[in-house]
Amino acid sequence: MAAPAPTARSWAWLGMLPFTLFALMFLLVPTMFIVVGAFRAEGGGFTLDHVMNLFTPSILAAFSISIRISLASAFLGCVIGFAVACSITVGGLPGWIRGPLLTFSGVASNFAGVPLAFAFLATLGRLGLVTVFLREWFGINIYALGFNLLSFWGLTLTYLFFQIPLMILIVTPALDGLRREWREAAEVLGASRAQYWWMVAFPILWPTLLGTLALLFANAFGAVATAYALTGSSLSIVPIVLFAQIRGDVLQDPHIGYALAFGMIVVTGIGNAFYIWMRSRAERWIK
């Protein structure tokens, strides 16, 4: 049997034209225009110097802590957001909660920057509402217990304010897509809720969860405004270093800034490649 040759020429790629054009015009080319600056020497020639500059200990450290914060907040955001989304879809909460919660998530997922930083300072800062309340009423000094808002965990906690809602918004439709019969079939075969989730629901949701994790990671990785407003001078994370280079009043080496931007794109690319690799393993059962 000769292997079949497709008879009709496929024009399916034509359907990608609008998006490709749009992305080229308004995302890829404009970004390239600037980011090639990372490879441009003073005189105008090509150079790898700026990119090599990324491999200094302080910038590497910045990448490292950025990646760790992004991973932590993305992971926690996924877990918690998933739990909340479950509780409004399959958890049996009354239907009316769903609408307001989703709209709230829409707002909260973009509540960032100065207002968010301030809100957390006013709540969990050293003179924040909750801090003072706990101290005055219960004699608990959370700062004495090692809590610090302006730290890795503090930043992660703050990022969660937009990460969790983002997760809720993205994952709710996926949960809606779980068919009732799957749960019932599992139950009737003797599976507990946990077994159903572990053996059926999670694997089915896995590609979505991975995708959202990648999204949340990039979301945190690029979030400059909140980090800057909250821990302006304390955390050395990539977006802040980048900010200092191309936007600051002091330093000014746009080339290094562009190299940093390039580095962020590369890190995101690696993260995405990893996600796609994981997903391709998880998605064999999809047409």
Partner: protein, 342 residues
């Protein structure tokens, strides 16, 4: 004394595009109103939040653009003047009051010139801090636990880096890199003592109590105090030692779509009227001394300023000194303060 031809040409252009001018900064709100009122030229304000590097980048990006995105004039940190010249981003213009601008704060060709300055001061929320600090050394005392903030990130903000430098000078550092090192050591100690709050200090955090002491340009501190209007009460203190003055520089974009309006704006800024408007925002205009000598400054404006004695001690870092201490501070800051973050 402003040539009528310039006024006419500027009016013909009709618009001036500015960038990075927050209305609360040096009374820029008033300045812009005054300019509009006087010449009837529209002012198109771009990103008031921009930093100095943004401003240069905006000129670069708009090289071929004459749309409303292209800034005509910029107001940047002192060291950005020469940097902009190096990249050919500015065009020369000498205002009619050129001679009254001190030589060490202007480009001989008129590509940029210093515009105003202030000294770094402590803005203190006296609801929380009942015994305000008098000098840098005070801030290390235990009663200032969790209290002191800079008004920016020393890696990105001119204001914050000069704050570190000032502390270094106060600690006996020699102008330049040495004071930078000493300033870092000072903040390292403050950080270790738990007094430093690594948050960007601003009106909100000052009033809310997260940062009861903010190291700030005196003009920002004073207008911030006025805006708070006693709730909470704020005291602005110029430290006894380590008084550092920061100068900003003004220039016209090499690609300005409205070059004449830009020149007219410069004329306005450096006229008595423009200079006094800045002073209303507590900024010392660059012609302050000349005008004081000429007696053209109303007494009530002078009365509202911090005691003149404070300014007599003010140090104006040279470009070279700035370059040296900048390298020291931005390079070392992460190790000093970033280290406490985990």
């Amino acid at each position: 004394e402003v040539p009528q031809a310039l006024i006419d040409a500027a009016k013909a252009e009709g618009t001036l595009t500015t960038i990075a001018l927050p209305h609360d900064w040096c009374n820029y709100g008033g300045v812009i109103e005054g300019f509009k009122a006087k010449y009837g030229i529209a002012v198109n304000e771009l990103n008031p939040d921009a930093g100095s590097a943004d401003e240069l980048e905006a000129i670069r990006a708009n090289k071929d653009n004459t749309g409303p995105q292209a800034p005509d004039v910029i107001d940047v940190g002192f060291s950005f003047g020469p940097a902009a010249v190096k990249d050919g981003l500015l065009q020369p213009y000498k205002v009619s009051t050129w001679d009254e601008i001190p030589d060490n704060v202007k480009d001989p060709e008129g590509l940029w010139y210093g515009d105003y300055y202030g000294v770094l001061s402590f803005a203190v929320n006296t609801d929380i801090v009942t015994d305000p600090p008098k000098d840098w050394a005070d801030l290390l005392k235990p009663e200032f636990a969790n209290s002191v903030a800079l008004a920016g990130d020393p890696r990105a903000s001119n204001q914050a880096i000069l704050g570190v430098y000032a502390a270094g000078l106060a600690a006996g550092g020699a102008a330049g890199a040495d004071a930078g090192e000493k300033g870092l050591a000072y903040f390292a100690e403050m950080n270790k003592a738990g007094n430093f709050v690594p948050v960007i200090g601003k009106s909100g955090t000052l009033a809310q109590g997260a940062t009861p002491v903010v190291v700030w340009w005196d003009y920002n501190a004073l207008s911030g105090r006025d805006a708070l209007n006693g709730n909470p009460p704020v005291e602005v203190i110029v430290p006894e030692s380590g008084v550092v003055a920061g100068v900003y520089a003004q220039g016209i974009s090499a690609y300005a779509p409205h070059p004449n309006a830009a020149k007219l704006w410069m004329e306005y800024l450096y006229s008595d009227e423009g200079q006094l408007k800045w002073l209303e925002g507590y900024c010392h205009p660059i012609r302050f001394n000349a005008m004081a000598k000429a007696g053209t400054i109303p007494q009530e404006l002078l009365d509202k300023l911090p005691p003149a004695a404070a300014y007599e001690k003010a140090v104006f870092p040279t470009l070279e000194e700035q370059e040296a201490m900048k390298t020291a501070i931005t390079g070392g800051w992460d190790k000093v303060v970033g280290a406490n973050v985990q």
